[in-house]
């Protein structure tokens, strides 16, 4: 019989005893109340309490003891004593046995519901997957079940449909809502060559993509797998509770016996009263609250983070991040976009870019890519060039519409005229650590283009948020001091460690660790040693390729605010664990002495049934407290 059925049956059977209890307040006795209580309680014991006895006995045989042991002893003592008392014409306590059962079952029913709530969030992610998709077979798009999609298949996605698996768009474009996987709330525009993620929703366009990952290899499956592992992991703080819960139940039984002896033998109270105190002790003690405190909080915390695109690998990371004082960022690709971009243009923007883009269209230099990209953004048409030659270490030269044009660095200006203003502008930009490209036409420099690997949009905001949380951001880069300082200033990082060779990054982390605990944020592909050296490694993903192996925390989005969210969520979760543990401990520490009658001189006592109620709600309150993690405020969420 399920807990729910057992609860309802027990509740209904206990109604006569409730009426009797109310009647007693008005000095009314139900006729034959002892017999009614005996029959009703017997039924409650058989259907409500017997499964506890069975489990308790099974555990006992294995030298184990748990909550069921306590409830079994509590209800059995109250019930069998009452049966004995009834036939020897003494006072009976059937209602204690009955109400303990009712309350404990109520607690179990509620707790079970809440626990399912806490643990089902991740599994739901997998339900997001579609069942079938339109796949190109024999030159025709046909519906194919998800399991039959193979790597290399072409899949067509219509507006409003879900992307089935991971792949790369080969035809068409659309905006895609990726919030369910990455946590990014804004739909993303994607076209040919862009990666798409399975289970995301196609908004308005139709496109075809080539399947790259299926089954357990897809990003969604990997995320679910990772979160599942995180949810079953333990936080080091649990070692204490594990120790306590190992001895908890037997210790409570011993305390109950001592309670009985003290009341019956030392104080000289009646046998019945001593028995009731002992029963209260057994019933109020709640090992469940202790056992639930950490796992439920980890479950809710990791699931909520996953929804925000923050994957926390295990409970240990949650705990360590609380002591982190320094957050070290890799520069290229982490603080900056990782791709050089045109930031400023001096001179006639259109003319300068037309000339530059026409020439650079044939070049493959990273700076050239930045220029052609900018021209594309501004819808600038390039002109055809003739006689293209590269001037080693200086730039490129060609002829456009009969005029000689050049694009290159300042070494080119020897033969060209440049105005003083432009020279001044060039110096300013260089001081800002930007690379300046000169554009010349007919022996005259007509414009300047400043190119920089610019910081990410919300880098400044993220650094500010970290500083507000008393965390010191540090930038680590292989760039020279000048460039590094300029970027550092722009995003608000005062501590900049420049000129660091890639292989020395981990050493730099170790030396920072001499002062306090360090988190390292990197892109997870080149930064693996630094990520594993740091106390907490935060690997930043970009779209579909998340480096799940490296780092204790993986950010699905390439967004620096994710670092803040990860730290917030970890701290909130860990604080919740501490609060839960404190509550579970203090509940037992206070509850047991009260139940034992330690404060009875001041009139504070607990009947066994009230003890049962308290015990039921102590574990519910712990699970409820964990579920509240779903509601706490996190940066930008």
């Amino acid at each position: 019989m399920s807990y729910t059925k057992r609860f309802w049956l027990s509740l209904i059977m206990s109604i006569p005893m409730m009426i009797q209890m109310i009647g007693m307040l008005f000095n009314w006795m139900m006729p034959g109340h002892n017999w009614i209580a005996f029959i009703a309680t017997t039924i409650i014991m058989i259907f409500g309490a017997f499964p506890f006895w069975k489990s308790g006995w099974a555990a006992f045989k294995n030298h184990n003891a748990n909550m069921d042991t306590l409830i079994a002893i509590g209800t059995a003592v109250a019930y069998f004593y009452s049966v004995f008392a009834m036939f020897t014409h003494r006072a009976v306590f059937f209602e204690s046995a009955a109400f303990i059962t009712v309350f404990v079952l109520l607690g179990q029913v509620l707790e079970e519901k809440m626990r399912n709530n806490a643990s089902s969030a991740v599994e739901k992610l997998l339900d997001l997957q579609v069942k079938d998709a339109e796949v190109l077979r024999n030159n025709e798009f046909v519906k194919v079940p998800l399991e039959e999609i193979k790597i290399g298949d072409m899949v067509r996605v219509k507006p409003g449909e879900k992307v089935a698996v991971d792949g790369e768009i080969s035809e068409g474009s659309s905006t895609i809502d990726e919030s369910m996987v990455t946590g990014e709330s804004m739909p993303v525009t994607k076209s040919m060559g862009d990666k798409v993620i399975g289970s995301t929703i196609n908004k308005n366009g139709t496109f075809v993509f080539k399947v790259e990952k299926i089954g357990s290899e897809t990003m969604l499956s990997q995320i679910v797998e990772l979160v599942k592992k995180a949810q079953t992991s333990h936080a080091p703080i649990q070692k204490l509770t594990d120790k306590i819960s190992n001895i908890f139940v037997p210790a409570v039984l011993i305390i109950a016996i001592v309670t009985f002896i003290v009341w019956y033998v030392l104080v000289g109270d009646t046998f019945v009263n001593a028995l009731l105190y002992a029963t209260s002790v057994i019933v109020i003690a709640c090992p469940c609250a202790l056992g639930l405190a950490t796992p439920t909080a980890i479950m809710v915390g990791t699931a909520r983070s996953a929804k925000m695109g923050v994957l926390i690998k295990n409970g240990e990371v949650l705990e360590v991040i609380n002591d982190v004082k320094t957050v070290v960022f890799d520069k290229t690709g982490t603080i900056t976009e990782g791709i050089p971009k045109v930031t400023n243009v001096d001179g006639d923007e259109k003319e300068v870019l037309t000339v530059a883009a026409s020439l650079e269209a044939v070049s493959e230099h990273p700076l050239a890519l930045a220029i052609t990209k900018k021209a594309k953004e501004l819808a600038i048409k390039t002109q055809s060039v003739e006689g293209f030659t590269a001037i080693e270490g200086k730039g490129v030269r060609a002829t456009v519409a009969g005029q000689e044009i050049i694009v290159g660095n300042n070494k080119l200006i020897e033969n060209y005229q440049i105005t003083d203003e432009m020279k001044k502008q060039m110096n300013t930009w260089q001081a800002e650590a930007k690379t300046v490209v000169l554009v010349g036409k007919a022996q005259k420099i007509i414009g300047l283009i400043a190119i920089q690997d610019a910081p990410k949009k919300n880098a400044f905001k993220a650094m500010n948020a970290l500083k507000k949380r008393d965390l010191q951001p540090v930038m680590l880069t292989g760039d020279n001091q000048l460039v590094a300082d300029a970027i550092g200033q722009e995003v608000g990082i005062s501590q900049v460690i420049a000129d660091v060779l890639p292989q020395d990054k981990a050493d730099q982390i170790s030396s920072l660790q001499a002062q306090n605990k360090v988190a390292f944020v990197g892109d997870g592909i080149n930064d693996a040693p630094a990520l594993s050296t740091a106390d907490v490694g935060i690997a930043m993903g970009s779209g579909t390729d998340i480096a799940i192996e490296s780092g204790g925390i993986v950010l699905v989005q390439n967004d620096l605010m994710g670092v803040v969210r990860a730290i917030d969520m970890s701290k909130k979760t860990f604080n919740r664990i501490k609060l839960n543990l404190f509550w579970a401990l203090i509940y037992n520490v206070i509850g047991i002495p009260v139940a034992a009658g330690l404060f009875s001189v001041w009139g504070i006592t607990l009947s066994p049934e009230l003890a049962g109620l308290a015990m039921a709600f102590s574990s519910i309150s712990v699970v409820g407290s964990s579920l509240l993690l779903n509601k706490t405020k996190i940066a930008d969420d």
């Binding site: 099974a58 006992f60 184990n64 003891a65 037997p250």
Partner: protein, 123 residues
Amino acid sequence: MIKIITVIIAVLLIGFIAWWFFGKREQKEVDATMNDNMQKVTVTVDGGYSPNTVVLKKDVPAEVIFDRKDPSNCLEKVVFEDFGINQFLPEKQKTAIKIDTSKAGEYNYACGMNMFHGKVIVK
């Protein structure tokens, strides 16, 4: 007189509880049996896990079958921290859990609240 007897009984009871629950006990190890290139072993879930420790051979596909007889929801889940397994065990049913035997070692498992413990050894 009756009080003295009560005290004696109580002391004996406390002694028994301490001995029964805290006393060191030898753990029985049970080997899995081979069946069609697959090693299988059944663990009965009833007031704990018996056998408490099962031994699997390395690199052979393995299944540990949990036979839950206990109605208590204390034992409704089995959690293998190392494998990220958090499996619900329906009452009065056998649930097979595949174990990755590619790495030798001792893998502890526990119930959802970490009150009951068991162990899988891969060697």
